[in-house]
Symmetry: C2
Subunit: 380 residues, 2 copies
């Protein structure tokens, strides 16, 4: 099994912080030119393996990127001078920036895609009907359709930068990534000269409200960082405030864009505080069964008993998409999480006004969550 | 890096198809007793690695499973005699079935969790208001709250069974899983005697409508298999019919449960036909930019040009949760996908009535998708 070429063959040099794509070099995850561990769309790699194994997909397939380019220009911004830990800031430009390499047969693929979108979000239609929002014909039209730019970002980890951000050594990080995953990608340890890792985890979906060309200017920014909660975001489970906060975030972003600013909703695939849904449901069962019922003081304790930690999201990883969008200041911040706001401040992003979700949007059963979070220092 | 013990140390025997948990043996993914490759909640394993690397989580943490047991009994059913390829049918029982092993210090963890839930789904509230649904006080109450049982299932692949189901050899499957992921889990090839793999991919969330004790009886089953589409399911993107079909599926499941049957909505984390969201957005851009506009004949062609295949979902993997729920026949089937219905029939599950989504639920912009699917043989 010689998946990665030997050291002498690392023929695609990378200078991670170089200012231009040409000086930085392409990220290559496949073939003799590979300078990254893992593959693109890593969270779906086992499915791709099944497609190749069954003959549905040729192992030599290369994407035809004709007409796939972003619908808007993002960057470069002055904020791009900071080193990114979790994404490739040139990931949306590869079709042009590395056209020569692609023509030469090197397998360079986008890790970011940018499309236009139209959304119908029931709570926004309702807010429009109730007069809490107004249609401007651009951001939000009279039928309730929201016009957005949507961006999919795959995780691209630069391990030396990630180690610095987490305050640990590069070797310790690599060793933990192999050992704590049960032996996933031994190359992380065996090939320390490879700096880039495409981890098989969910990425980030960013929705931009308003004119994206205002990004990186002084236009006021409204923002919510939202971590996936499938049960609430999709199905409307009433045990937590996730979808209500999402609706509140979208409503706030629309309002900010209509006032001449830009709204950013960054959605991270980190189900159940990155503990997964099985752990989440185990905790749901344990909470009300505790001796004294579902009390706020047990909210985090039961999670810790099952999972070992209360939270595994590492919000310091979630700031890169905002830095990538040129954000230096969030004028209106739709979140109650101190973990998120602390991470933003550490990333050099100022926060102005904290928006507070209206009480009417919080389901009754979710009040234990809100109280527990306040008691734990959220909002502080 | 000696993550997996050597062959002689495979001290936890597994007899995959054995009838009882005791005869089957526990699935162990960690420590000297490991008989599986990978780890539980594998899709979040890199986050766990960060938690250990930063000292937030002790590597020796074992979950405290007190009071986490399922809220209802699922199985055994006669359908459990068929071999499962993608899940552990005893995954919800480990706290009791393997209590002795757990007490002895063996790291056995649930791969399935079952909780009660209450949902507020805006389209259902609307259907109730419009008189298309009625409140019965059990499945659906007058406030629009839906009472469900929700089940989170992590993927647990039995590689020999999976290979048979895909019609390929076990060695070919293992080799592709290593090579096409860029060298993830070389133990898949190096340790062919280990039969179980916990792949780092999203799992399945199942919502049961009505009384779960009716599962495995002759009570009529209403069912939708839904594959994740974050942009539509969460944000209401109008380019596809995913959320409308989800709403239709939930509405149908409620109706089925109210008529004395049971509704099953099985939600698979397979974003963008298991191609991921970056590929999906690249295709969104390419479709309307094609010479003749966004035509139904290009719908699948553009996906294939970018991704190499039109679809990577492998619906034959999606039938196990239904088999696990004792389903032998789906009386009312809320889907237009022939890929799904063919897979069900291959799994020995009969399909009765095909429910058709009302035209009013299909967004205008999504008509290209519907037409393309019909032209490609969906519904056939």
């Amino acid at each position: 099994m010689n998946v990665h070429p030997d050291k002498a063959a690392l023929v695609t040099p990378l200078d991670w912080t170089a200012e231009t794509p040409a000086a930085r070099g392409p990220i290559v995850a496949n073939g003799p030119h590979a300078n990254a561990i893992g593959v693109h769309a890593g969270a779906y790699a086992p499915y791709r393996a099944l497609a190749v194994a069954t003959g549905a997909l040729g192992p030599e397939h290369r994407p035809d990127l004709t007409a796939t380019d972003p619908v808007v220009t993002i960057g470069p911004y002055p904020t791009w001078r900071k080193p990114f830990a979790t994404m490739d800031r040139f990931g949306h430009m590869v079709n042009n920036a590395f056209a020569k390499d692609i023509r030469a047969g090197i397998d360079v693929r986008p890790s970011i895609a940018i499309a236009a979108g139209e959304l119908r979000f029931p709570e926004i239609v309702e807010a429009l009907g109730a007069g809490r929002l107004h249609a401007d014909g651009k951001v939000l039209d009279r039928a309730g359709t929201i016009h957005v730019t949507k961006i999919a970002i795959e995780p691209v980890w630069h391990l030396p930068t990630l180690a610095i951000r987490l305050g640990i050594g590069d070797a310790l990080l690599r060793r933990a990534l192999v050992e704590q995953t049960g032996g996933m990608y031994p190359a992380l340890v065996e090939r320390p000269e490879i700096e880039v890792f495409l981890p098989p985890i969910g990425g980030t979906s960013v929705y931009i409200f308003g004119d994206p060309s205002r990004l990186g200017t002084n236009a006021p920014v409204t923002c919510r960082l939202h971590d996936e909660c499938n049960g609430s975001d999709v199905f409307g489970s009433d045990i937590c405030t996730c979808r209500p906060y999402l609706a509140f975030g979208i409503e706030s972003c629309i309002r900010g864009a209509q006032a001449g600013g830009v709204g950013i909703l960054s959605y991270n695939r980190k189900e159940g505080r990155a503990l997964g849904e099985v752990v989440k449901y185990l905790v749901y069962n344990a909470r009300p069964r505790a001796a004294c019922g579902d009390r706020e003081e047990d909210y985090f304790a039961r999670t810790k008993a099952v999972a070992g930690v209360e939270d595994m999201r590492f919000q310091s990883l979630a700031t890169d998409p905002l830095t990538w969008l040129g954000v230096r200041r969030i004028d209106s911040w739709a979140s109650m999480s101190n973990l998120k706001s602390d991470a933003l401040r550490d990333a050099g992003i100022e926060i102005g006004q904290h928006l507070v979700i209206p009480d009417a949007m919080v389901p009754d059963r979710a009040r234990v969550e809100i109280s527990a979070k306040k008691a734990a220092g959220y909002f502080s």
